[in-house]
């Protein structure tokens, strides 16, 4: 699992912080035309709105480690939909427009992430080799549309949780954080639509997995948000509360879900 190890190591903040001085981070900047903007607002001071200036940007390799993690998931989704659409007789004509739109976005995400990582001065991870049967567990993934849709559901809901879990790691990176949030909401649109194609609600109730691995929905049944027990401050049912908030997953939890589909 070389590909995964590389950015797992890079993500080790201690390693990164030892190797990057603040000065280096500032002069390298974050690409994306941010240098001028960052120079205009000294850290820790108040801006024109009376807001505290944005957080200091994280070191570039902390950002690219997260983006490479995201890229791995996008490679997975993009390849998955690409094979699915190319498999004659798999996706019914009624669903072609939906699946094609999703595939288009995933391919765009791959390209965007690769380009962003490169512009930040790092190397995009190479595309892994995938096994969408997960060692035979989903043997009919490309011959049975319901299995294909189930995995699409798994990947999209996991993707939403994966991006959500990495947002705080991108604080201070300006437009890179915005881009991650903008991908995150697109994956949520995908997830909603694929769930509805499978005959389920677009949102997640409690930790109901609808036939998918339980790990994908672990923790989704919480009704505590921050320090607030939401059941005590609203008349809405507990089940609806669990639907109203999607929950993050850590990088390692996401990798545990994704690993069965990654050969190398």
């Amino acid at each position: 699992m070389k590909a995964l190890k590389i950015f797992e190591d890079a993500y080790n903040k201690d390693v990164i912080e030892k190797n990057f001085s603040r000065r280096e981070a500032m002069t390298k900047g974050l690409g994306l035309g941010l240098k001028a903007a960052m120079a205009a607002i000294p850290f820790g001071l108040i801006d024109a709105f009376g807001n505290k200036a944005m957080a200091a940007p994280p070191p570039p390799t902390a950002v690219t480690a997260i983006l490479n993690f995201a890229l791995t998931l996008e490679y997975l989704e993009s390849k998955f939909y690409s094979i699915g659409l190319a498999t004659s007789g798999l996706v019914p004509s009624s669903d072609q427009a939906v699946i094609a739109q999703i595939a288009k976005h995933e391919a765009a995400h791959v390209l965007l992430l690769k380009n962003t990582i490169t512009s930040l001065g790092d190397a995009p991870v190479a595309e892994p080799t995938f096994d969408f049967t997960a060692g035979g567990t989903f043997a009919d993934v490309f011959s049975n549309y319901q299995t294909f849709l189930a995995l699409a559901n798994a990947f999209e809901d996991t993707g939403v949780r994966a991006y959500k879990g990495q947002a705080t790691g991108l604080m201070g990176s300006g437009v890179v954080l915005t881009a991650a949030l903008d991908i995150h909401s697109v994956e949520a649109r995908h997830a909603s639509e694929v769930r509805r194609l499978r005959g389920y609600k677009g949102w997640i109730t409690n930790a109901v997995a609808n036939g998918l691995p339980a790990a994908i929905y672990a923790g989704e049944d919480t009704t505590t948000e921050g320090t607030i027990n939401v059941t005590t401050i609203t008349t809405v049912s507990a089940a609806s509360i669990t639907e109203a908030f999607d929950e993050p997953l850590t990088m390692s939890a996401v990798l545990a879900i994704a690993t069965p589909f990654i050969v190398s």
């Binding site: 949030l181 649109r189 401050i233 109203a244």
Partner: protein
């Protein structure tokens, strides 16, 4: 230089929502008339649309400002869906009613959550004006719902980089994906099994990025604040936010 092109493209993709006219068309407001009027009003900087309930409420600055902005939008959505559920449009199917009921519950939960999280820093309860919506009409109701959900998604996405607290950023993240699920479902009700759930009018075809807008940005159309105010008797402002 390739890198610069990509950087510029990324910034452009984030700043310039595609085809705003199409986006706005899907509101209940007859395509353009009300927004034209709004456009003129919004030119007056100290516009103080007091309506019948008094002064404009400013959402404030910093994280509390952003959370109050979100709270205002959630109040609006909750109020809208409560009205929708009080009397469904003509020929609403059981499936549609179930979806709209779920969404209502989610928005109420979001609204109540922000009120609790903000505590004494919360803005007051707003009053609403849905006279432009025909609640008997599927097209009007779902068109308005679509606009509200897409606006909510873009608002959370646009605010993210300005949030100082990691906890608040995470909380905003937990909500925005649910709004996006709503948006996709509503769009699918309007144009079933088409690309509309994540259409080219809201997701950039080159980058695959959803909209993000800051509260006062008028790039491509009326600001989120202005759009919200079309449904508010008590107007809001976000003078201390971007």
């Amino acid at each position: 230089m390739k890198d610069e092109k990509i950087q510029n493209h990324l910034q452009e993709a984030l700043r310039a929502p595609l085809d705003r006219k199409k986006f706005l068309k899907y509101t209940a407001m007859g395509g353009g008339a009300l927004f034209l009027g709004l456009g003129l009003q919004s030119c007056h900087k100290d516009n103080n649309n007091s309506g019948s309930t008094g002064a404009t409420i400013d959402v404030g600055s910093g994280d509390p400002g952003i959370l109050n902005f979100a709270y205002a939008l959630e109040q609006l959505e909750a109020a809208f869906y409560i009205k929708v559920n009080a009397s469904f449009y003509t020929n609403a199917t059981d499936a549609e009613k179930a979806i709209l009921s779920d969404i209502m519950n989610h928005e109420i939960a979001h609204r109540d959550f922000f009120k609790a999280a903000l505590g004494s820093a919360a803005i007051s309860t707003l009053t609403f004006d849905f006279s432009s919506v025909d609640f008997t009409s599927r097209a009007s109701v779902l068109g308005t719902a679509k606009a509200l959900e897409d606006t909510g998604v873009s608002a959370y996405n646009g605010a993210g980089q300005y949030i100082s607290s990691p906890d608040y950023l995470t909380l905003a993240g937990k909500i925005v994906s649910v709004e996006a699920r709503h948006a996709a479902a509503i769009r699918d009700l309007l144009s079933p099994k088409t690309a509309s759930f994540a259409g080219d009018d809201v997701v950039d075809v080159t980058t695959g990025l959803d909209f993000s807008r800051t509260p006062n940005s008028t790039t491509g159309g009326p600001s989120i604040v202005a759009t919200a105010n079309t449904f508010l008797k008590t107007k809001i402002s976000a003078t201390k936010l971007p």
